[in-house]
């Protein structure tokens, strides 16, 4: 284990950034997100960011390939590029866990999404554990330990005036070795944090929900939802996208862009039929996708309990309250 004095954090990041591009959680123009490190950025280390770090691996808008057309002829060229290695510093355990789910979606079941894969392979994750979860956090109900991120390359957690760092992968070891000049050896174990105060009952939830598709409770739950995409766009595990064309004259770019099951057009077919015509079906899809379908398909939950949707839903349609309400249904 290594330690880093808090006072030296900036120097540490600067040194790391001179070797490899580093993304850090910052407050920028009034909103928090992960952005490239610079000396004058405003670091946010006391709470998680509103924009999830999944954007570094799966950006909202991403070019897929370019094309040229000339009368009847056409050609395409992939725009997938492997980025230089980069470090994501300060990712919270919930968001690290979300990468596990994104890996399952983008890298398994027969097809690998090369655009995601190239970034994922090049990204080194330094997770920052949470000594004290925010009141909207409920990751530990899903089995995430707020102070540990097993999938991270390096686990880091604050302890008084220091940060303690432990490498968990080879890439992590190597990075810490490269930065050894900034670090002090330290004995002992990484400290634990406090549990979350917000809780939901997890055990058996998938089985409980399986027979609830037709339950009238969905007509109740959906009522206040305004079908904006806020909850899905901020969610670290939501991955739905649309594929679109941007044509300018004889050339153009095929790109993808976040989409949301909250929008009516999402499932609207060319002939006019829509399997999810009202907000009841759409809200049901969002919750069952996270709590039943993803567990059925990938044997893990589709929510990591980060609480972003609770914080930012304009009508406080809170997933934990929905889960409680669903538990009450016989």
């Amino acid at each position: 284990m290594k330690s880093l004095s808090k006072a030296n954090l900036s120097q540490f990041l600067e040194t790391m950034n001179s070797k490899v591009r580093v993304y850090v959680p910052v407050e920028q123009d009034g909103v928090s997100r992960f952005a490239p490190w610079s000396q004058d950025c405003q670091l946010v280390l006391d709470r998680n960011t509103i924009n999830p770090p999944k954007r570094l691996f799966f950006p909202q808008t991403e070019e897929l390939y370019e094309y040229q057309v000339d009368k009847q002829d056409a050609s395409v060229k992939s725009l997938a590029v492997k980025p230089e290695p980069f470090v994501v510093f300060g990712m919270r355990p919930c968001d690290v866990q979300s990468l596990k789910l994104l890996d399952d979606v983008f890298l398994t079941k027969g097809y690998e999404d090369i655009y995601y894969k190239q970034k994922r392979e090049q990204g080194i994750v330094i997770s920052l554990g949470c000594p004290e979860p925010e009141e909207t956090c409920f990751c530990d109900s899903w089995g995430v330990n707020p102070a540990r991120a097993p999938l991270a390359d390096i686990m880091m957690i604050e302890s008084e005036d220091k940060y303690l760092l432990e490498a968990q992968t080879e890439a992590g070891e190597k990075l810490l070795a490269d930065l050894s000049g900034q670090l002090t050896d330290q004995s002992g174990e990484l400290p634990e944090g406090k549990p979350c105060s917000l809780k939901v009952k997890n055990e058996g939830l998938m089985e409980h929900l399986q027979p609830k598709f037709e339950d009238p409770v969905w007509a109740e739950i959906c009522r206040k939802c305004i079908n904006c995409g806020t909850c899905t766009y901020l969610c670290p595990t939501c991955y739905c996208f649309d594929i679109l064309n941007r044509t300018r004259g004889k050339q153009g770019v095929k790109y993808r862009c976040y989409d949301s099951c909250m929008y009516p057009e999402y499932t609207l077919m060319a002939g006019g039929h829509n399997p999810r015509p009202t907000k009841k079906e759409r809200v049901r899809q969002r919750f069952l996708h996270k709590l039943q379908y993803i567990p059925e398909r990938y044997q893990e939950l589709g929510c990591v309990g980060c609480g972003r949707c609770i914080k930012k839903c304009p009508v406080n349609l809170d997933i934990t309250r929905v889960i409680n309400q669903l538990w009450e249904v016989e």
């Binding site: 808008t61 917000l198 206040k224 904006c228 806020t230 649309d242 679109l244 790109y255 862009c257 304009p314």
Partner: protein
């Protein structure tokens, strides 16, 4: 429980028991002390869920749109801004006044939930009002069937155009820079549109595939979205501030709407939308003496 909460429950219970309405839309307590969230009551025994406190910021008017085709009446609690939202929907022929029962609530102003959350429960009393409430000109409902409690004075608030005075002083380049930074944050979730009582078109231009706007989230498209929406509600925006409150990226959307409202006042005379559902809209008519500065 405050006295008004008791009163609104009583009113709701009576309406439902006598079957004068088939649903009452109000607020109930949400996750944390600073969340009050819309609730839809259909059974008299459920009225105990209703509350009225300093966090009932959500404008309920838009939610009525889901019930415009149902049989019978729906009752709705309205603050000043909800009531103007109702007038907006009536004037735009989206809902039928005859099918709504409005329970007016004079509004002392709602607390800024984000700030209250930061301060914590014990100090929440010190939290400032929601930005939209600081500049509210009509805290008393402008339309209702019954009013609960006494009207409140409009005092101690900011001039509603104060925030844009600084923006107006900027050079065009500075303005561009400022708004670019703001709209670069936009994630195009469309919460601002979906929450807005003036955004009530049957089919929004932004839902017509990529006909009018590409889906790519980038500077030009984001600004186009913000501006087009602002112009689509010009002269109809009731200044309820819901768009800005709903925006997860904290974009100062109201500045656009206030700027347009101010310009309309200067060009066509003082006007506030949603006060009277019958009167002509400033941009929905013309007079021969209208200024032609833009020509």
């Amino acid at each position: 429980m405050n006295a008004q909460t008791a009163k609104i429950r009583e009113i709701a219970k009576e309406l439902l028991e006598k079957q004068e309405v088939q649903m009452v839309i109000g607020w109930e307590k949400g996750t944390f002390f600073y969340n009050s969230t819309p609730v839809f009551i259909t059974k008299p025994e459920d009225v105990e869920r209703l509350i009225w406190d300093e966090y009932c910021a959500v404008n309920l008017a838009k939610l009525l749109m889901d019930y415009r085709h149902v049989e019978g009446k729906v009752a709705l609690f309205v603050k000043g801004c909800d009531a103007r939202g109702i007038n907006r929907l009536i004037q735009d022929k989206v809902i039928d006044r005859g099918k709504t029962y409005l329970i007016g609530l004079p509004c002392p102003g709602m607390k800024d939930a984000g700030k209250a959350a930061e301060l914590g429960k014990d100090k929440a009393g010190e939290a400032p009002l929601e930005a939209k409430c600081l500049r509210c000109t009509h805290p008393n409902p402008v339309v209702y069937d019954v009013l609960v409690g006494e009207e409140v004075p409009v005092t101690g608030k900011e001039d509603r155009f104060a925030r844009i005075a600084d923006l107006e002083k900027m050079s065009p380049d500075e303005k561009f820079e400022y708004w670019s930074k703001q709209y670069d944050k936009c994630i195009r979730c469309y919460a601002c549109r979906n929450v807005c009582p003036a955004c009530n078109c049957r089919e929004c231009v932004f839902d017509q595939g990529q006909t009018w706007l590409e889906r790519a989230v980038e500077r030009g498209g984001n600004q186009f979205y913000g501006l087009v929406r602002a112009f689509h509600v010009a002269g109809r925006c009731i200044e309820c501030g819901e768009c800005e409150r709903a925006c997860p990226m904290d974009i100062p959307i109201m500045d656009l709407h206030h700027k347009i409202a101010k310009d309309i006042n200067e060009l066509f005379g003082d006007y506030e939308a949603g006060l009277d559902p019958e009167g002509p809209l400033p941009l929905g008519m013309y007079k021969t003496e209208d200024p032609e500065e833009f020509m």
